[in-house]
Amino acid sequence: MKILVFIKHVPDTETRIKLADGGKALDESDFKYMVNPYDEFAIEEAIQSKPKVGADEVIVASLGPSRCQEAIRKGLAMGADRGVWINTEGVSDDSLDSLLVAKALASVAKEEDAQIIFAGQKAIDDDCGHVAPMVAELIDAAHVQVVTKVEMGDDKSHAVVHREVEGGMTEVYTAKFPVVLGAHKSLNEPRFPSLPGIMKAKKKPLREVKFADLGVGEASTKINGYALPPEKAPGKVFKGQPVDQMVKEVVGLLRSEAKVI
């Protein structure tokens, strides 16, 4: 049995967004990249699940330009066995959308015949959360999103999965394999790659697949342009006065000026 993990290389949280080409594009020249934080929970859960279900290997797959191999290497350094890179060099970002990405990743899932697939529940750049449920549909598997706990069944053919919903409620599902699980925070504590892990990762196999060879068709949505949100005017900060007085003043303003109370 194989466990597959989908990960995405995303601009890090500190990234400043600048527009390029009059808002037709983003200026990505200063972007620094990292593994999407939710994907780290996915990698960790895959590694921990391997002995529980007696899986043969954990495979980390990512779609993107050349740099996304760094993300795959991080997954390998954490303990995954091998990588698959869907190379999108030369493919314009504008021609990709989540359904196309899901189709490309689904083709890897089918080829590897993975029984358990983990992914982050969403990526922090586009904030879509599309890929895990879309892949599940495309490979005709079950899916659970926003997963906070996974108990692998003794029969090695199902899992009991907790999913966080609103108001602190938890939905508990019984999901048969094959299953796609969208990892959320509190699922586990992702490990840091060890130095020997990083050294070993360099030698682990990484298979390259050309995106163009997958023939996944046309995108279903597109981005026409970008804008920056309007800057907020500086606020009113009260200090050095008695606390009672400052709080009273702010509550008064919340009613008279902001009109939110």
């Binding site: 904030d127 549909e137 906070t148 999901a175 925070k185 279903s220 920056l228 949100p229 900060v237 606390v243």
Partner: protein
Amino acid sequence: MSKKVLVFAEVRNGKLKSTAAECLTAAQSLTGGSAAQLHAVNMGKGATEHAAELGKFGADQVHLVESPHTDTYQGEPHIQAISQLVEKENFDVVVGPASPTGRDFFPRLSARLGAGLLTEVTEVSLDGDTVVAKRPIYAGKCIADVASQTPRTLVTIRPNVVAAKESQAGGKVEAFSPSFDDAKIARCTIKEVQAGKSEKPDLTEANIIISGGRAMGNSDNFKILHDCAEVVGATVGASRAAVDSGYAAHDMQVGQTGKTVNPSLYIACGISGSIQHLAGMRTSKIIVAINTDEDAPIFQKADYGIVADLFEAVPVLQKEFQVILG
């Protein structure tokens, strides 16, 4: 141009979610003012009673699916029912909330129907015959103009952004009985729903939020936030620092790897305002910050700041809210 639109009206624990009215209001921009073009679908036990409310916000017809499969939310039966309804009635667009439920099944529905999905949008409209929308990306640091490129389109609307407007329509109830594929449904079934501890609205739907950070010091101290929240009907949130220190549960976390919130009023108590926290709350309409450190980055994002110890300020805040609301 106008589109025929189906709104997924979400029900949780027998109650119609406020997002149903928000989604119907947002969908008006797609129907070209033709009331007959706007329908809603309601799932689950006792959903009939919500039809009048949906009619009030513009639903001409309310398709009612009553089945043991849909009493409690499960993705697959919802997708089967809606995709069959879309084919039968030939809807151009399906609109729903970007709630945990909507975010769970819309992507899968998108792949099943081969329809482009515009997720968690704050505005939706028609550009000629094309469904276009605005959606925040990079944690609200940027707004993208997105467009569908397929004949059918799915849209989820960010909760708490669209102001619901009444627009009376028929609200005529039509029963719809999908043919369920039991084998497919059996692959992933709900075992139980564990109740949350709070009766308060979820952070993502809350109108007022009071959040505590690392300065709260321990979990017991959150009581002063809960007491204050009680007075104004607020939901209590927490920063990642407070959650990681064990002062608050993870479902209370606002920010990256937590929840993205859009309340009218966000009160940050003892929160420095890291970029990860701002990622989750920057779109709040009004932000109040209470912090002893006047250089804390949160003050740059706050509409109103109070440089003070939260343990002194919050009880006064509670008292002042009582005065003004009493």
